[in-house]
């Protein structure tokens, strides 16, 4: 535990001094502000065109940003020789990976909080902000999305040998999960017998953290009816009082599942030398 805290503190220190973090912070704040400008007519409440656009734009930017920050951080450890040195220390692999995950998670949540905070303050001052509950929901959506994709980025960072390889995999994963998901889903489900469509959709949605988060946010913002009858099962589950807990459980499974595989890969590499 002491070693995990050491790694975490170093990660936060390095993350908050990394020019990349500030570039992302600036980009995120600018992006939030531009959304407010689009909605300069008044306060945004519940699911609307603006909150829907915002959800989609967060969905484009945040996963890519997270995948790059996380995977580069791990491949950097390999490329810079830091992991080689640390593997001569009495440092456990779980302490190393866990410390880095928590540290980078704090850095990412800080970036998101500053972006939201900046837009929130300006929005409220100018009378064109979000209602508090809508605002908090979008913040929670962004935070959970970032933490799930951070775990995926650790898996990428464990597999990739260098930053270039990591970048290639990151773009591939981002493209598949964010851009290509819907057309691929339509093509796949279109080729299945009708009775399989709903159960398959329910299963496939759980396999994509971005889609799962988007559904959760849309439903909680009251826009469940726009999703379509095929998603009826998900809408029903997530609307229940236990829906939030079910979502958190799915998110935790994603984080611990992918993070666990990353840790196992890292440990396997260490054991084999």
């Amino acid at each position: 535990m002491k070693h995990l805290l050491q790694v975490m503190t170093r990660e936060i220190r390095m993350g908050l001094r990394n020019p990349w973090a500030y570039s992302f912070m600036g980009l995120f704040a600018l992006f939030m502000l531009s959304l407010l400008l689009i909605n300069s007519k008044g306060y945004i409440q519940g699911y609307s065109g603006v909150s829907g656009t915002m959800l989609n734009l967060i969905l484009y930017l945040l996963p890519l940003m997270t995948l790059m920050l996380g995977s580069f951080s791990l491949t950097g450890e390999k490329e810079e020789g830091n992991w080689e040195l640390l593997s001569t220390y009495s440092l456990g692999t779980l302490d190393f990976i866990g410390g880095k995950y928590i540290g980078l998670g704090i850095v990412l949540l800080s970036i998101i909080a500053v972006g939201f905070g900046f837009a929130g303050v300006l929005g409220w001052a100018g009378g064109a902000g979000f209602q508090l509950d809508t605002y908090m929901l979008l913040l929670a959506f962004s935070a959970s999305l970032a933490l799930m994709f951070l775990a995926i980025s650790f898996l990428i960072g464990s597999l990739a040998r260098n930053r270039w390889q990591a970048l290639t995999i990151c773009i591939g994963v981002w493209f598949f999960l964010i851009i290509a998901w819907q057309p691929l889903l339509i093509a796949l489900l279109g080729s299945l017998p009708y009775m399989w469509v709903k159960p398959m959709l329910a299963i496939l949605t759980a396999l994509n953290p971005a889609e799962l988060s988007r559904l959760m946010a849309v439903i909680k913002l009251g826009g469940g009816s726009i999703i379509g009858p095929e998603y009826y099962d998900w809408v029903k589950w997530l609307r229940q009082p236990s829906g939030t807990w079910s979502y958190l459980l799915f998110a935790a499974l994603w984080i611990f599942g992918t993070g666990g595989i990353a840790c196992w890969l890292w440990e396997r590499g260490r054991g084999r030398g």
Binding site: Q6, R10, R17, E80, N82, L85, T88, S90, G273
Partner: protein, 257 residues
Amino acid sequence: MDKVTVQVANIRKLFKGEAVIHDVSLQAEPGQIIALCGGNGAGKSTILRMIAGILRPDKGEIRVCGLRWQEDRRRYARQIGYMPDDYRFSAGLTARETMAFWAGLKDVPRSHIDEALASVGLEETGSKPVASFSKGMRQRVLFAQALLARPPLIIMDEPTNGLDPYWMESFIRLVRQAGASGQTVLFSTHQLQVAEALADRILFLRDGMIELEGSSAEIRRQLGAGGFQDAFASLFGIPAAAESSRAGREQGEDDEG
């Protein structure tokens, strides 16, 4: 304290199915300073990285203070201070912060950090970003890191790369001090004068095998060479230098005659 700090028995290492280290054995006692010399690709770094616990041998056994990495890797790691050859410092951290991180992982009190930095002459630059340091300064930070927990075994891969003559002298003094206090030092170098000045025993490696082993006096005697440079040239068949070495020896014999 164990009678033997390092016990390496018939280790072999394969990379992509090809042996790069062939049945190497060595033993080091407390206070001994051992240099691994050889050309590029001779296997110096691979042997050191296997002893440090970074790489696993495909055959043979390594024990440090009687411990095997596979049995208790945490205790094994506590016996070692390792100085890597290829290391890039993370941007954004100062030398003191970097040392504090290492000290925390080695359970060394923070009060030792300034002492360690002072021992390598970096006490005044400790608050500067370590990534902005020159190669020699970075080597000194890494050296201080290896000495930090005063482990029984110090392993250094090309430690004198980039050091200026003044710090080369200081490095030699600090390594001698470590040896005198009972720490075993294993290091690789291609600077033969450093090996000759520091090491109690020198291992010449070629193609992953120990070609020659002994004290500097023994090696000179075995090869009949005037100096270490000549010994190296004659051992590795470097034509011009070997020629000059032979000419030198013949000249010496003529003079004696």
